[in-house]
Point group: D2
Chain length 410, copies 4
């Protein structure tokens, strides 16, 4: 694949932002798409360059570099971090390696984008946050990849909440429903092993919805009460590496080996309720056993003056009820979030021509590039990622302690 990346004649005028990415599976493919597309759509103050990609398997990472358009390939992430032609390290590996890579990248003077969850433990996340804080003083910026803030519909929802359209918040209810573990013969991939994934549906899906709920509400949870469950405790060992419910980009499901079975050591589902600082009540559910629900991240916020609802399976839509309207004409309206005055949409297609999942990574790249060019701290920060981790830790603690209400550490 010989597409010259970003070979603008104007490149001398727009300074480059040279990216080095660690990991090349599902998230690596998505991030590549983001970095490669962002400059074709948005006007940017820094021109992203796909400088180098890193993975342990040499042949595979070279193939991924060709496929996704990265100029160089590395097999040791330490080597990637040391490269002079890398300004920003983009971490797309499983959560167990986030802390080590991020700390090293910050120490090496790089900006960092780290996939969510920030880390597998609060301790790691705290260390990363401290390092990010220190690096910030040196002009290095760090962001955690909660990409669902960058769906135009959720960004519009945030804008509407910030405008006061909901008034005092009463309820936030959120689910993230998938169904790829319903089959008990689905193999024991890394996502089902605590030592690699940290947790199950909680860290994978729950992290997203905790971040999104707090972001949209504009406030933080103060405590939670939780139930978690592992429905299927033993699964066949996989014949090779695979990473989840993925198709295509990360390979099909690997055939189950004859290696026997192993223990599932993470949660299959997590339910928790909680309170926001304002007194609003929250309800969360993350599961991989909701038969027929493929990617149903659904959030609804009810305030004294209005309500908003979103479903990731219909990501170009936002549902809004204006409670100040006369009752006879009021109702939840379906806003097709494809108008030029909607967030990010000024750069895309005409009204009604929807975007897809991967565009969240284009928008994430755009926002991060602007923050770096302007020397502003990007959001969500590592501190935001740490706070989410604390919520998840409180969930696990409550679940272990008979669901007792557990305050979120500050």
């Amino acid at each position: 694949m010989a597409q010259p990346q970003q070979s603008e004649g104007t490149e001398g005028e727009t300074p480059p932002l040279r990216v080095g990415m660690v990991g090349y599976a599902f998230m690596g493919a998505a991030h590549s798409q983001g970095w490669r597309t962002v400059g074709r759509v948005f006007d940017l103050p820094r021109r992203p360059v796909l400088a180098a990609i890193c993975g342990r398997d040499g042949a595979a990472v070279r193939a991924a570099a060709d496929r996704h358009g990265w100029a160089a390939a590395e097999t040791d992430w330490r080597a990637l971090i040391e490269r002079d032609d890398v300004d920003l390290v983009d971490i797309c590996t499983p959560g167990d390696s986030h802390a080590e890579i991020a700390l090293a990248a910050l120490a090496a003077g790089k900006h960092v984008l780290c996939e969510k969850p920030l880390a597998n433990t609060v301790e790691e996340a705290a260390a990363m946050t401290a390092a990010a804080e220190e690096a910030c003083g040196r002009g290095q910026l760090a962001m955690v990849g909660f990409n669902y803030r960058r769906v135009p519909a959720t960004a519009l929802a945030r804008r509407m909440v910030a405008e006061g359209r909901l008034g005092s918040l009463r309820h936030v209810r959120v689910t993230y429903l998938q169904d790829w573990l319903v089959d008990p013969e689905f193999p024991l991939t890394w996502r089902l092993r605590r030592e690699l994934a940290g947790s199950g549906a909680l860290g994978d899906l729950g992290a997203h919805i905790v971040d999104l709920a707090q972001h949209l509400a504009g406030e933080r949870l103060t405590g939670v009460s939780a139930l978690t469950e592992t429905f299927v405790r033993e699964r066949p060992l996989p014949g090779g590496p695979t990473s989840g419910p993925t198709s295509g980009p990360t390979g099909g499901l690997t055939a189950v080996s004859a290696l026997g079975t192993g223990q599932v050591t993470v949660d299959d589902a997590a339910l928790f309720t909680g309170r926001f600082a304002s007194g609003a009540l929250a309800s969360f559910e993350a599961t991989r056993y909701a038969t027929g629900r493929k990617n149903a991240l659904r959030i609804e916020l009810n305030g004294e003056r209005g309500s908003l609802a979103f479903d990731l399976e219909r990501l170009n839509e936002l549902s809004y009820h204006d409670g100040t309207e006369p009752g006879a004409h009021a109702g939840f309206r379906r806003i097709l979030v494809t108008q030029p005055d909607h967030p990010y949409l000024e750069a895309w297609w005409p009204p009604g021509h929807g975007l897809g999942y991967e565009h969240t990574f284009v928008h994430q790249a755009r926002d991060l590039i602007h923050a770096i060019a302007e020397g502003r701290r990007p959001e969500p920060s590592f501190a935001d990622g740490l706070q989410v981790q604390r919520v998840l830790a409180a969930v696990e603690e409550s679940a272990e302690k008979n669901s007792v209400y557990t305050p979120i550490a500050v």
Copy 2:
């Protein structure tokens, strides 16, 4: 109003079932509609007769008798119970009087239909259940009015679960969302006073969803963890009696008097999670503060082989996902529950001609009449109502004890 009630020439052949109803507000109007219509639509083994209605205000109850077609009016429920021309006592009063009336009616040899919640306390509900059990030995039957079991769509859902279409159950998530308390100037009606209503959203809405969830799942909850909240703790005193979010049947909202304000002594919202006997996880939310949601009783069940979803705001529809279908053609299907082979539909209109809320009371009357005629115990029984009460008590206990997981008493 001079409509001869049920003046069939065939009445000699079909024995009557003479009903005496206590209460004539919202539920009284709805039950009247049920008793009056059921024999016009269904073939019945007993012919319901609207014998007498009872309320404390003589002029008002006589007007209600005229309006709703009751042959006689009483102002003392004890007198109603004593009437020889009453076979069944239908209790439509607020929860604080259920126990006294039901116990007396059973003692007087009547069948009893009692609106939900069965009582305001577990103790009352237990006494009623014991009395019903004893009366059953004498051929008297008792039923509690969880009418949402009688929506054709929920009845179809129950049938499909019983057929094994969901397989092992994993998740049940239920909400009952209304919004009639969003306005802090809404007055302090009886539904907001603990001494009359027992509890708030929990007993009113939560009782419905606990019963419906257990009924559809075909199994019972074993424990819960709960949060409850009263968002607005002081409200204007009403100028007169009113009973909730009602229009028409129970009068418009009464103008607020100059009497000042009073304390809200019930919950505005209740969130709880729980476990079913099978290990399935459950999530419940009942609230009167979900701006824009008028009557959103929503329930979804996810099983290993399929899923079902229902929304009372679209009560003629049931959503079903058959997880055993090839993935390429699978999806949640919207079953319009208006076919002749759907529950109750053999007696109604052609396909696609939907029913409404009040028809649940027609179906309730039908099922109860059949049970009485056949000497079978009707469902839901007082024992079922007691068990729901125990769940609600566990919810309140958990909410008071820092959300700790609380087993349901058996």
Copy 3:
């Protein structure tokens, strides 16, 4: 229902309106429900009395009288019309007998309610209209039963159009989709025979949508271009009388006899486009072959300032787009038409507690009773029914003349 303070005291004070109904199949059952219920819900100036019902089969009509609550039964419609205890004749027979019965009833001094379509031919409809006009001078009133004007959501739509919320109208698109003829073995019932039904989908479904479209638009069609088709031209003869896609009230489908097959002499589907007086464009489709669509009467109106959309399969909802709102927050909103300030809803249940199909007949009865009591001409008048008939005639003429644009006779 009961607003006690509005109760009319004793029945002696409210004069009766004694109804005699001809026909007792699907429409007869629906009208019975309407007459029987209306006084239980609405405050009325005349008290409807179900005086007599008429049908040719003596045993069947007596059973229908018992079932539906009519005081007397007749087997000759002329006898019914002559009865002194009948003030209003309600015609629920197939279209071929409408003219004869209505003309006789008007001549006999009765008010008349006639099911749609008004007649099977323009000539009959014109004669009926002339007779109704003349009778009006004698204080007799006549109405045609386009009940879909009385769905609260369509009545709200009409109100909103009349308020100018759509501005200049550009488009009206309407379909009425059913699927009960998809099976080629469905028998040749009266609805498929031109001599009885007049036409097929066109007269049955098309009449509804032509009336509703013109009513909501507030203006009339000036011309049409049409295609009609009979997909299955020969069908098994039925073993006995049946009348369509009905279940319950009118009996299940009759078993097909061994009588052989017969010709379908009506259209299976009719498509037509047209222009309104204002220049707005219209599109219509009526069919009984839309697999999976049970009762999909869907109408959308697009105006310069807004749009409205309705689907009879979700009859408690109206979709509204306010085109004057800022684009960023605009969208089609789903109005749950169950608020007390929605048409007819002041007398029914609390918000979110939906109504059903049969309630259109309750509302029709209500509106007609008020018109009669006040001496006002009810709508839709026979003249309205005649005009719909002229549209249908123009559709048939256009379909016969190679779809050429055909003006509607005035």
Copy 4:
């Protein structure tokens, strides 16, 4: 994306396909996205190279080349066609120049991809088709850009129809509703001038739905009856070039100049009915005046055994009713077309992670590259485009001739 094991080794082994594109507005941006992305996602037998882009304004075309990643820029399309480093000419200009460019490109030995509509007249389209046919003998391939065949949901619909899941087809109803002309002050852009655009909603939107309907049905229309209308006949002249309802990639709406007003010489809306070869009935509506509908290309097909429905505003979904299922469990199901065994999805994201509008151009590029590599004629061919043009011509002829039914020329 990358399935490493399927990687094609080094770039030297995959021969390039060098693309030269004419036009760089909305369609140019969309096609660029397609060419640039396709090799990053799919395994391809030819490697697309964005060789050169062409537009009349030198500065603007160079900026577009930079923005969209084209290696060279030309200001004369004849020069582009003559370039040795161009294998395929991609025509993204308004319809009036399609014929001239395509004929020249074919004469110059290039493959051709031409945006829809193929041409502004049947004569031009016929000449192009003849030239394409001749060129095919020389190994040059030509395709017309009906990209909506490449939405995964429509491709799935085509597969399901081809599998016989609908049985005999009865109805096809299609609308393409937009609303960008509702405001009478919207300027007179090229799309509203017959000499440039050929026609209005008919050629722009109608061409899409005619092609899609025939493609999904798997058969052709034999005749049509039509109404067209221009609601607003005079509009302000634009201050500069703009091309429609576009935002972002092609610039915002140009400010209206002080040049006065001009005549709209195309249709604003077109309605037509028709018959398919099998006897199925079809209904079409294309309009730019459907307030609140942004991009509502909706198609429903009803067959004897099932139905399918699609709405471009929810492009990741296909609705399917299986008419062979038992009625009690049947219903329209919402297939989320994001499973690995759905068309094109094997190469994208995990289930539930939706695609967007622009991905149709990625898929179009993929299919064309495969056809060229394999020497197969791609679909839709120029002959397909010509036939669509003949349908549109028949629509215009019918509209001019009082809607008379007009056969489609063969």
